[in-house]
């Protein structure tokens, strides 16, 4: 084991390599590694944010769905009520109309009956007069009995 000037040479090599590492190897690598670390952290944070947002969106959509369901149920109930109302109304109207028609028809019938009676009365009186005329032509004067016939006509 002999120590000699090789030692100085080695120290110079050593210093040179330390300098290379210090200037050209470590700083760019350190920067790249730190940058990558930052990127990864950012990515993870973004993923976390996305997850959170997705949860929020799911909640929002569930809310919207529930609201829509409630609204539609409300609409259906309203519509049913309205239909009921319309049916009731129609029923009422129809009854009134029908009553009116029935009343009209009854009145007409009465009128018709009255007119028929009138005609009948006149015809009966005529027939009676005609009959009586034929009978009385032989026995009595028509003019004499006109008052009596008139009284009879009133009674019919």
């Amino acid at each position: 084991m002999n120590i000699n000037a090789t030692l100085i040479g080695q120290a110079i090599w050593f210093a040179l390599f330390i300098w290379i590492t210090m200037k050209y190897v470590w700083p760019p690598l350190q920067k790249a590694m730190a940058d990558r670390q930052a990127q990864i952290a950012e990515g993870l944070a973004a993923a976390e944010r996305g997850k959170h947002e997705q949860e929020l969106a799911a909640k929002r959509s569930a809310d919207a769905l529930r609201e829509a369901k409630e609204k539609s149920a409300e609409f259906v109930a309203q519509a049913e009520k309205r239909a009921q109302q319309i049916v009731e109304e129609a029923k009422g109207n129809a009854k009134v109309e029908a009553d009116k028609i029935v009343a009209g028809a009854k009145a007409e019938i009465e009128q018709e009956v009255e007119r028929a009676k009138q005609q009948l009365r006149e015809r009966v009186a005529e027939l009676a007069v005609a009959g009586a005329e034929k009978i009385l032509r032989k026995e009595i004067n028509a003019s004499v009995h006109a008052d009596m016939l008139g009284a009879l006509k009133q009674d019919l």
Partner: protein
Amino acid sequence: MSAEGGLTTTGYIQHHLTNLAVCSDAAKDAAGHCHGFWTFHLDTLLVSGVLGLVVFGLMAMLASKATAGIPSGGQNFVEMVVGLVDQQVRDTFHGKSALVTPLAITIFVWVFVMNAMDLIPVDFLPFIAQKVTGNEHLPFKFVPTTDPNLTFGMSISVFLISLFMGLKVKGLGHFMHEVFTVPFGAKLAPVNFLFRVVEEVARPISLSLRLFGNMYAGEMVFILIALLGLYQLPLALPWELFHILIITLQAFVFMMLTIVYMSMAAESH
């Protein structure tokens, strides 16, 4: 390769444990071996330098193309290694420093690739080096961390950086105060100073000798296995597999202790 062609077992082992040294003619002895301080181990300098240039050049290239988006395979791998080191630094070092993490990355990666040279069969690279240079007896020790000069070069650098960091973070006054008063108080200032010196000196020595010892011993076992002729085949594989653990562990330990020393230097006792 077993001992053949006139090469003895001792010679083979010694040859594998000899560095390719260069020095001025004045420092050579009669047999042409280099002595004295001004000797350079060409193999250690060359292999560690080329490995470092390749691996840090590659990392710098990948880092320059790094994006925050989906990383490419290479970028992903570099990020994994760098992220592992950075995590250790974060767990251990609580001060603020632009130097500690790059320092730890450099140590871990560089020591790992140098240790990994141990996994190449012991005669491959020396054989190539001998063919290239045409010198049949050229020694070529291609695992740089088995050279104490490298481990001491690193650990002394780490020691100086931690000293500098302590001074910078605490200021000269606070630093000197700590040196002379911890752990026994101001009345025993010389003892405190002595303790501190022993502590500070022991750190780089233990740091470098740990790495050197482990790798040297591992290399030695590889050399001994390589001496067994055909029997090396069933033995080399398990030792290689086991060695993968050792090279990673030693690189990690060197890095971890460096971080600890830095954090001790930056924090008050």
